[in-house]
């Protein structure tokens, strides 16, 4: 990185912390600190909802996925718009009018304290770890491609985030999220422009997309019904629906965002913003990855994108094998470049003609040859590092940024990656602190304390969770591939958490014993599906449906066996607020 790029990153960090501290109003009151006095406009809340979900690993991981496997990952989001409609009609007015600070607070009103505490503990454990991973993932990538010290990189992301979240509460989080989303969108637009202008003069964008499409990079929708395939239209629409219902409806890191809106209508609009924008936004990020694939057909990239592993291999006994593969790679790359150019230039021909078919077949074969050499190189890395899960797709986009983006824009892209990490982790820190204060400190330790005591404790809690997240990040950075494990660990809980809220809001007969048992059995079932050999191949999006169904069924059965709901269905606390 050159001085101008460094200047952009430093200016960005200073600006974000300063504006985060400055945008806080009346944060000396509980309502101001935790719910922004319910004063925020729908568009700011909507951008904050999206920023909390869009982490740095979404930026670099999604582009890398599109480079390697195409656009199929977009199907993950297909259930989201439908979930937003359902939540707007049900949970949003319900939480908003009930005056709760946390989603779990409502579970005590409807059921009992043990169900509330269990749900809050699950949230704290899951989000506390996830917050660490959100910070660790970009820190590892930036430290490897830029040669930065990993500890300092984690601190550079974590400390400013802790500072403005601790001082400014939810208002600072929301307004910095708005600015961070703007930085991310501007930087991604700049990257797409550089990718397009970086194509050879005789290759148009349309031709480049045809070339990428010839090897399946633009195939976004898989209509097959296969439970073992992670991303199909069905797993996206059904499993993704349940995942989104749980994440946006039961997870405090999202519920807290729309509790800050000016009105129920504003809260609904903030979620509907994601319903309109999320799939096109993710498709845009994936297309950036497809364009990166097209870009690297005509611009040389290293055989492996992770320079640290390459150096490890070159210092090992397999260095000669690796060097031989590099020579092969150079040859195959040149052949593929010629084949890609021939196919791009054949776009004027009838696509059914033999000449076009020949050009297409030639490119498909050349791409397969390059992939085979890369696969052999990856095999050597796995052999040398003893890391069977090794993949370098997360390094594809950072390699493009550092090797081909102009001075100044490199700094902007690094700022965008840091932005995405900060916006996602700040929302989570804020929610972790709120749940700690409301669901444990105020509920169990100091129920009649003044606002000042809760505010003081919430600032300590924010700092404590921030330090915990940084410690998890240091640990995860040393474990490498365990990041994948922790990410999957987070997805184990969504379905069962959704199930307990369905029991609370959608049924009249469920009671606390049923909800508690349903939550535990739902979690146990999803864990069994994930780890038992007979079922571990089932795509993880289906786990959300399985967890929710098991939790509801078990909850209703146990409730019936333990006397049903004694409060006899008349209470306001377990009915939908009709509008």
């Amino acid at each position: 990185m050159r001085w101008l790029d460094w200047a952009v990153v430093v200016v960005y960090l200073t600006w974000i912390v300063w504006s985060g501290l400055r945008s806080s109003r009346r944060t000396n009151e509980m309502d101001g600190y935790f719910r922004a006095n319910r004063s925020l406009p729908w568009w700011a809340v909507g951008l904050s909802v999206m920023a909390t979900q869009l982490s740095a690993i979404t930026l670099v991981g999604t582009t890398g996925q599109a480079y390697a496997n195409g656009m199929r990952f977009v199907q993950f989001y297909f259930g989201l718009p439908l979930a937003m409609i359902i939540l707007s009609l049900t949970v949003v007015p319900f939480f908003y009018r009930s005056g709760v600070y946390t989603a779990y607070e409502y579970l005590e009103r409807r059921f009992d304290v043990k169900t509330r505490s269990l749900a809050a503990v699950i949230f704290l454990a899951q989000r506390g770890l996830s917050c660490g991973v959100i910070i660790a993932a970009p820190a590892i990538i930036l430290s490897i491609v830029l040669g930065w010290n990993i500890v300092l990189t984690i601190l550079a992301i974590g400390v400013p985030t802790i500072a403005y979240t601790m001082v400014g509460g939810v208002q600072a989080v929301t307004w910095t999220d708005v600015k961070q989303m703007a930085v991310v969108l501007f930087a991604m637009s700049a990257a797409i422009a550089v990718l397009i202008f970086g194509l050879p003069h005789d290759v148009s964008v349309g031709s480049a997309l045809h070339v990428a499409g010839a090897v399946g990079r633009l195939t976004a929708i898989d209509t097959s019904f296969n439970l073992k395939t992670n991303y199909t239209i069905w797993s996206g629409l059904i499993g993704g629906l349940f995942l989104s219902l749980s994440y946006f409806g039961c997870d405090q890191s999202q519920v807290q965002r729309y509790l800050t809106a000016k009105s129920v209508g504003s809260a609904r609009h903030s979620l509907l913003m994601s319903a309109f924008v999320k799939i096109p936004l993710q498709a845009g990020i994936l297309i950036a990855g497809v364009l990166t694939f097209a870009f690297f057909l005509f611009n040389k990239n290293p055989m492996l994108f992770n320079p640290v592993h390459e150096r490890t291999v070159l210092a090992s006994a397999r260095a000669a094998d690796y060097r031989a593969l590099e020579a092969q790679y150079d040859q195959k790359f040149t052949a593929r470049e010629a084949a890609a150019r021939a196919l791009a230039n054949a776009q004027g021909l009838d696509h059914a003609s033999p000449e076009y078919g020949q050009a297409r077949d030639g490119f498909v074969k050349a791409q397969a040859d390059v992939s085979a050499v890369r696969a052999a190189a990856v095999g050597i890395v796995k052999d040398v590092t003893h890391d069977s899960t090794y993949t370098d797709v997360n390094y594809v986009f950072p390699t493009f940024i550092l090797s081909y983006m102009p001075i100044g824009l490199v700094g902007l892209m690094i700022a965008a990656i840091i932005s995405a990490a900060m916006s996602a982790s700040s929302g989570e820190l804020n929610a972790l602190a709120t749940a700690t204060v409301m669901d444990f400190y105020r509920r169990h330790i100091n129920p009649k304390g003044p606002d000042s005591a809760y505010l003081r404790f919430s600032k300590f809690a924010t700092a404590g969770w921030g330090i915990f997240a940084c410690c998890v990040a240091f640990y995860a950075a040393n474990l490498g591939s365990l990041i994948e494990v922790v990410n999957k660990f987070g997805s184990l809980f969504y379905g069962s958490m959704l199930g307990v809220f369905i029991l609370a809001i959608g049924t009249k007969s469920a009671n606390g014993h049923g909800a508690f048992a349903g939550l535990l059995v739902g979690l146990a079932t999803v864990f069994a599906f994930t780890f038992l050999p007979a079922t571990q191949d089932v795509g993880y999006l289906w786990h959300n449906l399985i967890g929710a169904v098991v939790c509801v069924v078990v909850g209703l059965i146990v409730s019936a066996l333990t006397g049903g709901n004694p409060s006899n269905q008349s209470s306001e606390t377990h009915r939908f607020t009709r509008t």
Binding site: M71, V74, F78, P81, L82, M84, I85, S88, L89, L209, H210, A212, G213, A214, G216, L218, T219, A220, I221, I233, V264, G265, R268, L272, A275, F276, I279, P280, A283, T579
Partner: protein, 42 residues
């Protein structure tokens, strides 16, 4: 004799039914567009 102004009606919540329909329509169009993308360039 001038009539006293009528008391303001209680705030009515906006009916978002059309927005919900629009969300479904937009999603259908986006999905069709993504399907076309794969077919056209594939």
């Amino acid at each position: 004799m001038p009539q006293a102004p009528a008391p303001p009606a209680p705030a009515q919540e906006q009916d978002l039914t059309r927005t919900y329909v629009l969300v479904v329509v937009v999603e259908a169009i986006v999905l069709a567009g993504l399907y076309w993308l794969g077919r056209y360039f594939g």
